[in-house]
């Protein structure tokens, strides 16, 4: 083959790859942009007026909406109080993150800042109240911190070895405390410590990268099957580092969670 033909073939290949990339980007963008609207529609259909009467639904002005939210919060906490394990309560109205055990608020942490997926503000009010009316259950979680920081220690042979063990302690700086609670009803609760995060910390970096890769992987898989990828509405809460660690370590793996919006 002569060089001119090779060049032409290369240009054609380049053009095909470029066009394919543009086509993919347009398709991916179109499908991705559909995701939240799809989720809002799904949540509205799932939670609107499934229990309450039509009259309850239409009477949803600002006052009633506020009262309904408070009512659903209390109802959810009451349901949680019947459980005998530690549960988590997020009160966005009073900016509190609480641990509750058998209905007793055993720990209260001040919430410094809250961010929310715009899905919630675009949902039907009636559906929103219904969504938060019962406790969520943690399906799975991911964190930069360990649940139980257990150190394995071999029994010392004598008193000298025992004395040496006493002095050996972990001096590694802890990673920034952050954890994701993947709740049922397809909502993610993200707790992040306040202050400057050490983004160079290896554990934290891996945590962020894994989250991104999982998200992208999920989107690509759905796009490959010509499906609109699922979108998980999220709530991000910023609390002090100690409170982030305390709450994460205190709650069991499948804890109950109540949120007051």
């Amino acid at each position: 083959m002569n060089i001119g033909a090779i060049r032409r073939n290369r240009r054609i290949t380049l053009l095909v790859i470029g066009l394919a990339a543009i086509a993919f980007m347009v398709y991916a963008l179109a499908m991705t942009l559909k995701m939240p609207a799809h989720e809002i529609k799904r949540l509205n259909q799932l939670y609107s007026d499934t229990v309450r009467s039509e009259s309850d639904h239409i009477l949803m002005n600002d006052d009633i909406f506020r009262l309904r939210k408070e009512e659903s919060f209390l109802r959810s906490r009451l349901a949680m109080a019947k459980n005998d394990s530690i549960s988590l309560t997020l009160d966005m109205h009073d900016s509190l993150l609480m641990l509750e055990l058998e209905g007793v608020a055993i720990h209260q942490a001040r919430v410094h800042h809250i961010k929310m997926s715009p899905v919630f503000s675009n949902m039907n009010r009636s559906a929103l109240v219904q969504l938060f009316d019962t406790p969520f259950r943690v399906d799975s979680c991911r964190a930069t911190i360990v649940k139980e920081p257990i150190i394995v220690q071999k029994a010392p042979a004598d008193t000298i070895e025992a004395a040496r063990q006493e002095t050996v302690r972990d001096t590694m700086p802890p990673p920034p405390a952050t954890y994701h609670l993947f709740l049922n009803k397809d909502i993610t609760l993200i707790i992040v410590q306040t202050g400057e995060l050490d983004k160079k910390n290896e554990i934290y970096r891996q945590f962020v990268q894994t989250n991104l890769h999982r998200k992208v992987d999920h989107i690509i898989r759905n796009l490959a099957r010509f499906q609109v990828p699922d979108y998980r509405p999220w709530i991000m809460v910023f609390v002090a580092q100690d409170d982030a660690i305390t709450t994460y370590r205190a709650i069991p793996y499948h804890s109950l969670v109540t949120v007051r919006i």
Binding site: N2, L29, L33, T246
Partner: protein, 264 residues
């Protein structure tokens, strides 16, 4: 396009160029070594690879960064829905009635929820920050530092393992005792690298380690005093909760058998 004519005039076609050069008819044949050198061919190829790599890199950045954020943006640019759902046949009286009904429901729920918090004394223990809080009649009466389990698994051979942690959950004070004596278990010797004495050996009894008071929480766990006051606020115990002398005294006097201890 005529492939042959293009080939004829191609400066990168060495055989054809050489032939024309010999005849002295093609001015392009006088071009330098660079025009037909393998370096130039390689450079062209490398450029082509770079162009493909650039497209792929752009695509990767798009997938990794643009796609995840595009979903959020799509809602932000959407107009928010109307805040108030139109009320057609609803009068002010209906609204008042609805508000009263919900307020009544809230009051009832709050009352039910309040019943869960003991009016009697109760204690909360934070094992992460090693702090306690004592409540009486639903009011905080004292808080301070304590020491809880150190999260160490002591292994002595295949079958002997102990985990020194304070179990989370709710417990009740089973009994209270002054001037308690600690009967040292085997792990206390193993941990210090000492030989284990026989059961009921006098060396097993320690009258000072637990301080002045002890509140028994069951399963071998206790709230008690300590000789190591400087370690309060740190996770150093074998699962019990250690307190400073003054704090322990108040807890001992305030709590009674049956009082709840919430550990988290």
């Amino acid at each position: 396009m005529d492939m042959d004519s293009d080939r004829t005039h191609s400066p990168s076609f060495p055989h054809r160029q050489n032939h024309l050069s010999e005849e002295g008819k093609d001015p392009q044949a006088r071009r330098g070594f660079w025009q037909r050198s393998p370096i130039r061919i390689f450079a062209n190829f490398a450029l082509w690879i770079l162009e493909i790599a650039a497209i792929l890199a752009f695509l990767t950045v798009f997938v990794l960064y643009a796609l995840p954020y595009a979903q959020e943006m799509s809602i932000r640019i959407k107009k928010p829905q109307a805040r108030v759902i139109p009320v057609h046949d609803t009068t002010a009286a209906d609204l008042e009635k609805a508000v009263a009904s919900i307020e009544n429901s809230i009051a009832k729920l709050q009352k039910q929820l309040d019943k869960f918090t003991p009016a009697a004394a109760y204690l909360t223990i934070n094992t992460n920050e090693n702090e306690f809080a004592l409540y009486l009649k639903k009011k905080l009466v004292r808080q301070g530092l304590c020491s809880t389990g150190k999260y160490v698994m002591l292994e002595a051979g295949e079958n002997q393992k102990w985990i020194f942690k304070t179990p989370r959950g709710v417990r009740k004070v089973l009994n209270k005792q002054t001037a308690p004596v600690w009967t040292k278990p085997d792990w206390a010797y193993i941990e210090e690298g000492l030989p284990i004495p026989p059961v009921n050996h006098p060396s097993r009894y320690d009258a000072y380690a637990l301080g002045e008071y002890k509140l028994d929480l069951g399963n071998g766990y206790m709230v008690h005093g300590t000789l190591y006051q400087r370690l309060l606020g740190k996770p150093v115990t074998h699962g019990c909760v250690r307190m400073g002398d003054e704090d322990l005294e108040e807890v001992y006097k305030t709590m009674s058998a049956g009082s709840k201890v919430y550990i988290y």
